[in-house]
Symmetry: C3
Subunit: 273 residues, 3 copies
């Protein structure tokens, strides 16, 4: 199944509009190109609303939100909704500051999202109004483990049902859930958290995957999460004793560029709960 | 000829002011350093007008234009004109949105540009008021081929004559033209389009080349286009079976750092029409 | 001593708030992760003041300052002061434009800085109201040499005493001084200046080091400067005949990721004057 989903990304080359933070934007653009998509960035409201109409999907990332880009997120999100384009939210730092939490919650009210891709603390901030976000990383206390996995899956399914959105929570174990089913994914490497923006990249990638597979958002999001994790594994295998997080970043994007749909099918590691 | 032009860049180390998008800005800075130039970025109008006076040349890229940076482009462009500094325009996404098209056309009216560096769709949007820009990439229908090359050269020369600007259109075949002559350049690799910002980098590079060679803007722009394409070839030769677009990006900048003026002379592949 | 200081960074994993330019922000984030810290960026004033409270230290870099980010620097700086968090200033381009010089001087008046990390021309612009800043690089005429080292050390100590701030001036010879003592550091490679943002990265790194070692700002800043230079040496040793400034950038961050506290202790090259 993931083979066909990824094949669709490579074939359709979806054009993705990103309103995203300036920290990791270059990596987001390159991972989109690596997977076969095409990126464009526009965050002035007047420009964003028109650019989003040109694209197939929209990726909203609140990482370095400001008073100019916040309105752009709303107008572009609503326009994408009108046009039936998939929209993905990456609520970077929700729970860490009032502006981020409030903006993410307002976005959820006024824009229909296809997927929310976040870490567990950001998810809890949105779903429960709690969660101790340590900056832009999940708090250790929130960590998804084998012990609390079933509980977290239930939480994700409930929030997915309530919002009509696919929930993708990534960490040591990733959960991708709609109201009925959850993919529990075990691809990836812990060293990926030592690179800035692997989460942001995954949100951009997820947008390309759901845009190229509009009828299967759950499976498309799960495929994107597996692909990112698998590339993290492949890139790790390539590292030498001198390589660190900067080369690792390059190798992950390289791995996505080289990844074949068949290799994704073979390498994806998940169970459905 | 290109040997001397590149030698001038290395010798004079031109300081280049860039008002550019935040997606590829880091790569623009590093390619400028790689070629022997020196980058500075400033996009608050008050700061931009003063910084540009300090520099030798100005590179205006409208990739993520906004209501703050647009005025900066105009005041810096006019100041650079007053001082006789070369100014290069990269009209990213002209034709893709009203704000981008209108801004590019207004810039052409109010600022004198030494070079416009764009893809074929952006060029057509400015020269003909048409061209189907697919986001920030050229549309397949606009593609320059051996069949339509002569027609495109004529179009480029006409627009160059009309505007007094060197026109650099890059793609599978690159055209660099003033009103009389056109360099048709066949350096480069198709894989370069899988890296975000090779066009942006080339615009920054072109600014350094024309700044260090103020009396020969046509030849300097052609040399920059050849240099970028040649580095794309040299970097491609270095790629392993595991390398993808991220390592390729690094290798291209590395190749520019190592490129000698003599190697540029030898490797440049062009004809004059 | 540096071993323990670096060990504290690795152990405490300080969360660092960066209000920094968009040119080198990704590298700043990755060097912070490489040293064991954790980065967050927020530059909308409302967000910045709250995010800084969550963090352990604040890094203010005026590289692409604008009318939105300047107020953020002031409110975040003052909030960090109230909370007793270390604050580092990187006055990028002070002396090169009025807005940059005036902003840096106003910041020095209204915010208490733990460390100012700059090149020699930026330092002179702040300390003497002179210094010929060549864009964002130091002017050759200002260069610290063996001949003028004692004079520059005196200047640094005087300014440190007057402001109560540790002064870190980096270049061929680095000086890190408080009012009494100065570390003269000879780590590093001249090729580091061919990479954009090694200074910005060092400022971010310094913030992590002083945050994890609040009682020893002088030694912590000196350790950060030695660490960055040492990584420049280690990364240089790794370069092949095809590598240039882009791979060198990656290798430096990689070297920081791999650097052990014991290796820093061994490799640090300094004398105290």
């Amino acid at each position: 199944m993931f083979e066909q989903i990824f094949e669709n990304v490579r074939q359709k080359s979806p054009l993705i509009h990103n309103i995203t933070n300036y920290v990791t934007v270059n990596d987001c653009a390159n991972i989109l190109l690596a997977c076969g998509g095409s990126p464009i960035m526009a965050d002035e409201p007047e420009d964003a609303v028109e650019i989003t109409a040109l694209c197939g999907g929209l990726n909203i990332n609140i990482g370095t939100l400001n008073q100019r880009t916040i309105p752009a997120m709303f107008v572009a999100g609503k326009r994408a909704n009108e046009l039936g384009h998939p929209v993905v939210l990456d609520p970077v730092g929700a729970g860490a500051s009032t502006l981020r939490t409030v903006t993410a919650i307002r976005l959820l009210k006024e824009v229909t999202f296809t997927v929310i891709r976040s870490n567990i603390s950001e998810f809890k901030a949105l779903a429960l109004g709690s969660g101790a976000t340590k900056g832009v990383d999940a708090d250790a206390a929130d960590k998804v483990t084998e012990e609390n996995l079933d509980g977290t899956v239930t939480l994700a399914k409930d929030f997915a049902r309530r919002t009509g959105t696919v929930i993708a929570i990534t960490g040591a174990i990733d959960i991708v859930a709609d109201g009925k089913q959850a993919f529990c994914i075990r691809n990836g490497r812990p060293e990926m958290s030592a690179i800035t923006g692997t989460g942001c990249q995954l949100s951009a990638l997820t947008t390309a995957f759901v845009t190229a597979n509009p009828d299967r958002p759950l499976e498309a999001a799960a495929a994107a999460v597996c692909a990112m994790g698998l590339c993290g594994e492949l890139a790790y295998n390539r590292m030498t004793a001198l390589d660190g997080n900067s080369s690792y970043r390059n190798y992950i994007i390289d791995a996505m560029y080289r990844l074949t749909p068949a290799a994704l099918e073979r390498g994806a590691s998940y169970e459905v709960r």
